[in-house]
């Protein structure tokens, strides 16, 4: 009796709540995917007994307002950083000596010394080369080593030559190997560009130019060659190993020779490096070999950047 009553009550209850037996061809609405953070299950929302815990409520609040607060905080912090930098720079400018004053630290005897004695002391006809490769040679050494370090770090990050990534990189690039116009121009242009680069490097102490500019010109010739004939043809005479060896050797020669020259100059010792006659190719002491070193490093580094970024390998 009790069971019958219970079953009747259950039927009645189901009829009231609408939970009756479903027809078989009823199409249920698709359940929301459980992984999405913004969709909530309906019984979570309407159930009386489900109290959201503090952490859940915090997460919900974070989902709704977090991005807004983050963007406000981000812009406030960026404005603050900009203001700090502006104030620092303005304070530095305010500390600078007045423009054009004769007692300024820039107007000292150094410029006069360079202009009047540069020829005899460095032996360089081009006084700029004498400045950057003799008086201030360690600045140029720093530049070259920064370039070399940048190339080596890019090589470390991008140049994984023995993994399968290399082939992916190669598939991205379909070179037009039959580009007649490009090849015809390259045949005529590459020797001229190479010669121009060598002239600029070797005549660095006699005329305008020098290691950096000449190295950049040489690297453009290498890039043109790589574009016209593919990277494989450049790799025949300039690969990763040759790049590393030549650049580090050039840096070592630069550091050792210039270190010797500075050591003897500072201690008033006799230097074995001859100055030569001003105006000859073989003159100006160390400037010619230093120019060649810088040119090698710059040419290798700039071409290396191009090769690494386009192919992932030198």
């Amino acid at each position: 009796m009790n069971d019958e009553l219970k079953s009747i009550w259950l039927k009645f209850f189901n009829w009231v709540m609408g939970n009756g037996p479903r027809p078989e061809n009823e199409v249920l609405p698709p359940e929301p995917p459980p992984d999405l953070p913004f969709t909530q299950k309906p019984h979570d929302k309407f159930s009386r007994f489900h109290e959201a815990t503090l952490k859940e409520r915090y997460n919900q609040w974070l989902e709704i307002h977090g991005l807004h607060i983050f963007s406000i905080l981000y812009s406030a912090l960026s404005i603050l950083t900009c203001l700090v930098i502006v104030v620092l720079l303005l304070a530095t400018v305010a500390e600078l000596p007045p423009f054009g004053h004769e007692r300024n630290p820039a107007n000292n005897e150094v410029i006069r010394r360079y202009v009047e004695h540069g020829w005899h002391e460095t032996g360089a006809q081009n006084i700029v080369a004498g400045l950057i490769l003799d008086y201030r040679a360690f600045d140029t050494f720093g530049e070259s080593s920064v370039l070399f370090t940048a190339a080596v770090s890019v090589l470390m990050i991008l140049g994984n030559s023995r993994s399968s990534k290399k082939y992916k990189f190669k598939q991205l690039h379909v070179y037009r190997n039959d580009d007649t116009i490009l090849r015809g121009v390259a045949v005529m242009a590459i020797p001229v560009i190479l010669m121009m680069g060598c002239v600029v490097v070797i005549n660095g102490h006699l005329s305008a130019g020098g290691g950096f500019a000449g190295g950049a010109i040489l690297s453009t010739a290498l890039i043109l060659c790589a574009n016209a004939y593919g990277f494989e043809s450049v790799r025949r005479f300039f690969n990763e190993r040759i790049f590393i060896v030549s650049s580090s050797t050039a840096l070592m020669i630069y550091a050792l020779s210039k270190g010797y020259s500075f050591f003897t100059g500072a201690n008033q010792l006799h230097s074995i490096i001859p100055k030569g006659v001003v105006g000859n190719i073989l003159s100006a002491g160390l400037i010619l070999p230093l120019n060649i070193c810088v040119g090698l490093i710059v040419a290798g580094t700039l071409y290396g950047f191009y090769a690494l970024f386009s192919e992932g390998d030198i």
């Binding site: 700029v128 005329s207 305008a208 130019g209 500019a213 950049a216 453009t220 191009y306 970024f309 386009s310």
Partner: protein, 87 residues
């Protein structure tokens, strides 16, 4: 000579503004290249040929090549080809 200098400086300013205004990235790189070239001429007029050679080699040569490479990597050079194929 002064007129040429003024013309070059004017060209420089126009280039510098149009680099940022131009919508096509390829065009802006080419304009940037011409900016470097004119800047090299101005360095010669200012009697600093060392800088002129460096500017012509690095600014107009290597930098633009690296920019073109970057454009090809992000797929901005193939954009026009696709449009032509659609038409």
């Amino acid at each position: 000579m002064a007129i040429i200098e003024w013309l070059l400086l004017l060209f420089l300013i126009v280039c510098a503004i149009s680099v940022s205004i131009t919508k096509s990235l390829l065009n802006s790189v080419i304009i940037f290249m011409s900016y470097s070239l004119v800047m090299a001429v101005i360095w010669v007029l200012l009697r600093s040929p060392d800088l002129a050679i460096t500017e012509a080699a690095v600014g107009a040569g290597v930098t633009s090549v690296l920019f073109f490479l970057a454009l090809r990597k992000v797929g901005q050079l193939e954009h026009k080809k696709d449009e032509e194929e659609k038409e």
